[in-house]
């Protein structure tokens, strides 16, 4: 205990006797650590924010889209093929386990007219399952019912931006609107979901059965009704991979694909998307951290510089200590502890400053931030490591001084 306390006390005296110099040395580390903490917290905050938005879209959501189709060697974009059908959706709902609901939809761009307002909007024909599957919530009015769906009622539910564009502050529920060739009655408005991933805010939803009366829904060669996409939710997130496999083999059979054919559809689970997004933002966070780490490195070089000066200045002290019987490792340890002590203090202050900065940034509403414990621990231990690394050479220099020459120096 005492053996450790004495070098620490000596280091403390060394730091305190040169207050301004110690402060300036520490400042480099403080800025470096604060930069790492605040930038990493901004990166982490952005990541959490994006992931939580994905969560609102439904983390147990799986989306099936048609694959790219190739016609005489010319490929279209993904989703261009017309391979998914309502019948596919029904088969999935019947045959694949762990599925809570299946929502096929077909969407098309239609001209929508309300009074003098006229806009081209994406109109999506959906089943009643669509709302729970996509975590949608009603802001006013209602969603259409199962019986509305069965009889192909001409009713519409508006996304929040569509409502803002067409009706401004007025209440659209009960109003009529012309949509292509038919007149529909607005029965509800959706809560805004925020602008992400083809937001539902910009869409108008009508029963798929009504859609089929308005737009000629294409049919496949087998006479099945084509849909744009099928979304579904799994009852058990753990089983998402299994469900994806089952759907793949079911659809391959239904689409009569040979073993050498590529899938003519794409299945993406929200889990996968969340993983990809989290990986991308993680990389960004790491990049921010790396840039901040450069300033930490510069701070470390500052520490080395000061320690070299300090050794030079205290040559006589080193000589005295050696005459009193200090061994090389005593001297070496003394200066190394002093360097580590400086950077440790700098690390602690840097964490506090970085935390305050990220708190201010998030409370000003500029960005969401998240200071995580592992980054704090990392930053403090890295700063101590920097002290040990950059203090090593000056300390070694000090320990190697010849005692007689050191005693003679002024």
């Amino acid at each position: 205990m005492k053996k450790w306390f004495e070098p620490l006390a000596t280091a403390w005296v060394g730091v305190v006797t040169h207050k301004l110099r110690s402060f300036l040395t520490i400042l480099g580390i403080v800025i470096g650590v604060a930069a790492v903490i605040s930038l990493m917290s901004i990166g982490k905050g952005a990541q959490e924010e994006i992931l939580s938005r994905i969560e609102t879209l439904g983390s147990n959501l799986i989306t099936i889209r048609p694959g790219a189709f190739t016609f005489r060697g010319v490929g279209s974009a993904a989703g261009g093929a017309q391979t998914l059908t309502i019948e596919d959706a029904e088969a999935i709902a019947e045959q694949v386990p762990y599925i809570s609901s299946v929502a096929p939809y077909y969407s098309s761009n239609l001209q929508v007219v309300v009074g003098g307002e006229n806009m081209n909007s994406q109109v999506t024909g959906v089943t009643t399952e669509y709302m729970p599957v996509n975590n949608l919530e009603i802001a006013s009015g209602t969603f259409f019912s199962e019986s509305d769906y069965q009889r192909g009622a001409k009713v519409a539910v508006l996304g929040s931006s569509v409502k803002d564009t067409l009706y401004a502050d007025a209440d659209p529920v009960g109003q009529q609107m012309r949509m292509g060739t038919i007149i529909v009655r607005v029965i509800g408005v959706l809560e805004s979901k925020g602008q992400m991933f083809g937001s539902s805010d910009d869409a108008i939803f009508i029963p798929l059965t009504a859609m089929q009366q308005t737009v000629a829904q294409p049919r496949t060669a087998q006479g099945e009704k084509v849909v744009s996409s099928i979304s579904l939710t799994v009852s058990d997130k753990e089983q998402a991979d299994y469900v994806v496999e089952e759907i793949t083999s079911l659809l391959r059979t239904r689409h009569q694909l040979g073993p050498l054919d590529d899938d003519d559809f794409n299945i993406r689970s929200m889990e996968e998307i969340a993983e990809a997004v989290s990986e991308a933002t993680g990389t960004m966070t790491l990049l921010l951290g790396a840039i901040a780490a450069i300033s930490l490195l510069v701070g470390g070089i500052g520490v080395m510089n000061i320690m070299l000066v300090s050794v030079l200045e205290r040559t006589r002290e080193i000589g005295i200590r050696k005459a009193l019987g200090a061994r090389e490792h005593d001297i070496w340890l003394q200066f190394l502890i002093e360097a580590a002590f400086l950077t440790f203090t700098g690390g602690i202050i840097g964490v506090i400053v970085g935390w305050v900065v990220s708190y201010v940034v998030s409370s000003m509403g500029l960005m969401t931030t998240l200071v995580s414990a592992d980054i704090v621990i990392l930053a403090v231990s890295v700063s101590v490591g920097i002290g040990l690394f950059f203090g090593f050479y000056p300390a070694w220099n000090a320990s190697r001084l010849n005692p007689i020459e050191a005693l003679r120096s002024e």
Partner: protein, 222 residues
Amino acid sequence: MIKLQDITKVYPMGKRELTVLRRVSLTIEQGELVAIMGPSGSGKSTMLNLIGCLDKPTSGSYSLEGREVSRLGSGELAGIRANKIGFVFQTFNLLPRLSALANVELGMRYAGGVDRKQAMEALTKVGLSDRANHRPTELSGGEQQRVAIARALVKNPPLILADEPTGNLDSRSGEEIISILTSLHAEQGITLVLITHDANIAHHCQRIIHLMDGQVVSEEKV
């Protein structure tokens, strides 16, 4: 206790070499009080540094308390300095940032550990118990040298080496320092080797060794 045999010390000076000690042989018994005199450049300090294990001879053998130390490594020499030898310098060599007491404690730091009570006793022995918390800059030259003596004796070494301990002091303080040193020798039987220019001081000792050009030219018993 100290036995130097054919000790030669050569310093490289650029391309030339400077021979500071030439085949010096010398024996100092346990409990002796010895003065080394000689003009500057005669090799007094080099000899004291060699005896104090701060330096190694170029050739020759040195045995301290029967142990051959001329070929030891720096770590072992540091151990001998820590436990066996107390130094008193002309320029005191106290650490300016530390109090008198802390300076004395530093004398024990590398010799097994600090004991505040023992450090205080050493300060009392040199008559400075009331100055324990003063910094060196707040003390007179004589008082600083007394702190340095307390630092040297606090670990109870068998050997104390003093390199012109009164060189920076007025004659009254010098007398005080010499009387402290001689009484330590008389009461505790410490072996004391000191370098001096002052014949009066040298005559307080039992034996005077005269050095000239790196060689012992004469010895006289007092």
